[in-house]
Symmetry: C2
């Protein structure tokens, strides 16, 4: 499927009543530090606290009535588990979430709160997939991948669409890069709605699979996932990677300390709670001032779900 | 001086270009917990991170040109020191801030950053006053009290004025109570612009001087100041107390744990950074549900300046 502007237009109309139109914030002080004009698209204020709500809603709304009744299923211990649960509840479909036995209690509770039906499985990828397959067969639920799915990519792209409707003359949009759904959707939105607007990714050096993938031209993986940006530990997929390869300008890698410094800057100066993954985008801008100097730069603040009991400050 | 509606109208016009019109946020989830419709006036997004900017700007703008040139002076280690510094810089006047030798380095640096001229004195009230008096004499600067000053009270009242312009049919506005400037200004704004809108204070039980003052009819003091709400450790003054006595409905006292729970609720659910003092107002609402049941309730979120290295979570 080649995604067109009409697909993204239709997607946005489709999901609108299930999502918040999140605000775009600015900070004179951070502009001074960055030497650029920054526009923060605050998906931390999105329903369930992250942009993932958009893709989840779109994926479910694309199912026919029969499939919706049977529900949706995914395996995730992060924001997508919560997003799929709340999106399904909002639309009126069951959601089945397979979570590893070592998932933090706080995340299991969040999924429960949003109405997801949880199945706990042993903490290996093989077990996760096996449990998910069996449960999908049993329930007839449709599997939705958190990032490697055209409907999910389209949904995530609506955040950048809204940002460009608010600030049509952005030169660059920066997003964090994890599984690739957000940056792929953002790159499409920039192409369709921007005026020569390019897209740059920010990625932790500790999990720089996307950086290496853009160089090698094939999907690379990480041998370890030792980053505070817990939303960015995943790899790209075969559906989003071609979009990223074609449409994304480059990926800037940042150190863990740079992520924490950017996180603190946003918390202290903007007085908003954002996830470490979101701070990766600002860290990338601060790291390469020559790329962004005096430009109008959008940043997708991906989410605000943090464990306040485990802060890096 | 008897404060009238015209005074508050004029004050608001006077200070407008030096302050932010802060947003009013809502949260369906917190509404459900509180059993009321809450409207959060977010002064944590105000310049320098707190409502105190409003009163400081108004007090300086009321000085004649000669006095402005000589500058303003206060003794404070909290938000008012930062507010007076930034307000003076914004208007083009010098600010002299007397701070005790045991003031946290982070607060001293913040005042410096906003352009305040700092004098460090020994950490007793007597020394603070002596140093302030001597410096005022030497420089000719005008002393501005952080809360017991009609121009400061007027300035602080503009937050509630804006809130009522946004939500004219509020039944109640709740503010934290510290030195009394915010709640006095809020009570006047509710009287002038509200439609039978009453004002209720939230106060930590550990420093319940205002609660006791409303009962005894005279200004009471605290024998200890053992609360996390560091902005609320001060006592009322002879200028704001008569306004509070006449215009405030009641004061609700909350325990330290209730403050921390409310703080966590705002951070986790609204994804905004607020000070413990601000959480006192929400804690009061949650503590007395019968008072607020199904009402439209405004909350002044007083500020967002917290030390991220010393969180209670």
């Amino acid at each position: 499927m080649k995604i067109t502007k009409s697909h993204l237009d239709e997607c946005h109309e489709r999901i609108k009543k299930h999502i918040h139109l999140t605000p775009v914030l600015t900070s004179r002080l951070i502009d001074n530090i960055a030497g650029a004009n920054l526009f923060f698209k605050c998906e931390n204020f999105q329903r369930m606290g992250a942009f993932k709500m958009r893709g989840a809603v779109n994926a479910i709304l694309q199912l026919d009535e029969e499939s919706r009744k049977k529900g949706v299923i995914t395996h995730s211990s992060g924001n997508f588990a919560q997003a799929l649960s709340l999106a399904a509840k909002s639309i009126g479909a069951p959601a089945y979430i397979v979570m590893p036995s070592n998932a933090p209690r706080v995340k299991i509770n969040a999924v429960k709160e949003y109405g997801g039906n949880i199945s706990i499985c042993p903490a290996t990828l093989k077990d996760r997939e096996k449990t998910t397959d069996a449960l999908a067969k049993e329930t007839g639920a449709t599997f939705i991948h958190p990032s490697n799915d055209n409907n999910v990519i389209l949904g995530q792209g609506t955040a950048a669409k809204e940002l460009l409707e608010n600030q049509p003359d952005l030169d660059i949009i920066v997003t964090p890069v994890g599984g690739g759904g957000l940056i792929a959707g953002t790159a499409l939105a920039a192409k369709f709605y921007g005026d020569l607007c390019t897209v740059i990714g920010g990625e932790p050096k500790e999990v720089d699979d996307a950086y290496r993938s853009l160089i090698s031209g094939k999907i690379e993986t990480n041998s370890s996932t030792n980053t505070i940006a817990d939303g960015l530990r995943t790899n790209l997929g075969d559906i989003n990677f071609p979009i990223i390869l074609n449409e994304v300008e480059k990926i800037i890698r940042v150190e863990e300390k740079e992520i924490i410094d950017a996180l603190r800057l946003i918390w202290e100066r903007m007085k908003i709670i954002v996830e470490p993954s979101s701070a990766v985008a600002l860290a990338a801008i601060i790291k390469e001032p020559e790329t962004f100097k005096s430009k109008k730069v959008g940043i997708i603040i991906s989410g605000g779900n943090v464990d306040l009991s485990a802060l890096p400050f």
